[in-house]
């Protein structure tokens, strides 16, 4: 009984109760990342069939018409004629072209709306392709279709010796995504769970009420951090379990190293969280600060897509972001079999950064 009534135990216990009594916490912290991983995982991993849509704007018959007559299936939907040409390919996955016969103006509107990728017109019986040269999908349609016109088939025949599909663990999009989601979940959870909680309690004058007792301030902060880290572990395990169940995700590297890196990430973001929440008593201002910290990292740190798509000059800065260090580190352990050697630098960097932010936050901390 005495043990249960110590400050630190009561602070931790009540903090835990408050956390689990918020149904939103369970949804946003546990279910939402699983739903994202399912959605994005299915969208980007199960791509056995590529589908392309093309507008056909012809004044006279072209070489394409005669091929469509032979290879495509013709349908009429709502007064619109649609030709579907399917090419089977066991190595690269099937391709399906859908051709819509229309006029130039509606074709341009459809292109602007993203409903189609390419417009095909005719010139002296030959197909002419109209598309945005910076659009990678449109380029692919052009290359595939122009090759098909030169050698029309219904089943792709390839010299299979030259294509060896990589079926390795850790090369799928979902393998890239899950470590990113774990890192992003950790950041969001701490920034909202620690920063917002502190600001809200300050605005409610509850912090002031608590420090008007013999409560040790360090006990309060420790309880807040401990419960949040505990929740982060549960949330990460929950996401990993579903990713393993649905997509067969595996951790190829050192699990102890992963644990250390995960804790270092918690330390880094807890430090940032305390710094962000050290002064303001207005939840609106706090929300702005939290978004200002999390949004750029969410976009830049390669959570959903690789940050190598950003300009070369920006990569040096992006790699310095704490979320980038954490996501890259976790990804390397999950997918590349990394161990202590690879994660020691990011772990130390994250920990030191977190401690500096934490000390600076406490220096300026306003309890009331």
């Amino acid at each position: 009984m005495k043990f249960k009534n110590t400050q630190i135990c009561q602070l931790t216990y009540t903090q835990f109760l408050e956390t689990i009594r918020e149904p939103e916490v369970l949804f946003w912290g546990m279910l939402f990342p699983v739903l994202i991983s399912i959605g994005l995982g299915l969208a980007f991993t199960q791509s056995s069939e590529s589908k392309f849509r093309i507008m056909l704007v012809e004044k006279n018959s072209s070489e394409l018409d005669s091929l469509l007559y032979i290879h495509a299936q013709q349908d009429s939907r709502k007064g619109e004629t649609v030709y579907t040409w399917k090419i089977k390919d066991e190595t690269l996955g099937n391709t399906e072209f859908k051709f819509f016969r229309t006029e130039w103006e509606p074709a341009i509107v459809a292109l602007k709306r993203g409903e189609v990728d390419v417009i095909v017109t005719d010139s002296l019986g030959k197909a002419v392709y109209h598309f945005d040269p910076h659009n990678a999908t449109a380029q692919l349609v052009y290359m595939k279709l122009s090759a098909l016109l030169k050698s029309p088939v219904s089943t792709a025949v390839k010299e299979t010796n030259f294509i060896k599909p990589l079926i390795l663990t850790g090369v799928r999009y979902i393998d890239f995504l899950i470590p990113g989601l774990i890192s992003f979940g950790l950041m969001s959870s701490i920034m909202w769970g620690v920063s917002y909680t502190i600001i809200e309690r300050r605005s409610q004058k509850l912090l002031r009420r608590m420090v008007a007792t013999p409560m040790k301030k360090t006990n309060f902060l420790f309880a807040l951090m401990f419960v949040r880290i505990l929740m982060n572990v549960v949330e990460a395990l929950f996401l990993f379990f579903f990713a393993w169940l649905l997509f067969g995700i595996r951790i190829q590297g050192n699990i102890a190293a992963l644990t250390v890196l995960f804790l270092a990430g918690n330390l880094a973001f807890t430090g940032i969280g305390v710094l962000v929440s050290c002064r303001t008593a207005k939840t609106e201002v706090g929300t702005g600060w939290i978004n200002a910290v999390t949004m750029p990292m969410m976009l830049l740190s390669g959570i959903f897509f690789s940050y190598h798509n950003f300009p070369e000059w920006s990569l040096g800065v992006i790699k310095l972001l704490p979320l980038t260090a954490l996501a890259d580190g976790i990804r390397s352990i999950f997918n590349e079999g990394a161990g202590w050697i690879e994660i020691i630098t990011p772990s130390i960097a994250l920990s030191v950064f977190g401690i500096i932010c934490f000390v600076a936050g406490l220096r300026f901390f306003k309890w009331y």
Binding site: M1, N5, T6, Q7, C9, Q10, L11, T14, L17, E18, R21, E22, R201, Q204, K205, L206, R208, R209, M210, A212, T213, P214, M215, Y368
Partner: protein
């Protein structure tokens, strides 16, 4: 030795001079009302006595000890209820009291005692977010009483309560007064509250003490009650300027 001794204390916020040279003394076991309208400087003065604000000038001693040197000791002997404190809505009354009891290293029996004292027995398993205004104030009082405080500060404990809830709270405080072990400093702008509960009344306005003493000594042929006295002293009523910061 006085229980509380305030010596020529000043406090300003930017352009506002909230407390302008107040001195007062309070004896052990006294129930004292700080009476004044909103914006009079009552809350600022009480927060300095509670050790939550530093005076710009002057000194405050609680049982002869200063906040600067002996905060840890003083925190253990005072109880307080702030204006507008909101407890965590996702905790029950019992959980909230147990949490605060742990700060004072108080036993479970005391938690039960304050629940009984403040009449919250049937609400102890309710989330604090579901309590009425009166019940929330009783919880605030229960938290303030957990450590058997030698000195209890209550900042406008009945503001916004209906007459029935106000009466409930007064009865609890009267019971406390009968025990004679606690010194109470109560801020209020309700004349009846000061009259009904307190032995000593200090009338404050614009950061200064206008008059102080026992109720009987303050009233004369020109002022038959505190409202009239306040009008005579300031030319305004206690309930004017309700939006001003106190």
């Amino acid at each position: 030795m006085y229980e509380i001794e305030v010596k020529n204390v000043f406090k300003s916020f930017k352009d506002v001079r909230a407390v302008r040279g107040i001195s007062l003394t309070i004896r052990a076991g006294e129930f004292v009302a700080l009476l004044g309208p909103n914006g009079a400087g009552k809350t600022t003065l009480v927060e300095m006595m509670e050790g939550l604000r530093q005076p710009d000038k002057g000194e405050i001693f609680i049982q002869g000890k200063s906040w600067r040197k002996e905060e840890k000791t003083l925190r253990k002997i005072i109880g307080l209820s702030l204006q507008e404190t909101r407890f965590t809505e996702k905790l029950t009354v019992l959980e909230t009291l147990r949490l605060f009891a742990s700060f004072f290293d108080t036993e479970e029996e005391r938690v039960k005692e304050v629940i009984e004292l403040t009449g919250l027995e049937h609400k102890q398993k309710s989330m604090t977010g579901t309590l009425s205004g009166g019940q929330r104030q009783r919880l605030a009082l229960a938290v303030a009483l957990l450590n058997h405080p030698k000195i209890l500060f209550l900042d406008e404990p009945t503001t916004g309560l209906d007459p029935h809830s106000r009466l409930d709270l007064w009865n609890i405080l009267k019971a406390l007064k009968d025990q004679g072990e606690t010194t109470l400093i109560l801020t209020t702008h309700y004349m009846e509250e000061a009259e009904s509960l307190c032995d000593h009344i200090i009338i404050v306005d614009e950061g200064k003490i206008l008059r102080e003493g026992k109720l009987a000594d303050l009233l004369d042929e020109n002022a038959s009650n505190l409202d009239e006295l306040f009008i005579n002293l300031t030319g305004k009523t206690l309930h004017e300027n309700p939006d001003a910061a106190s």
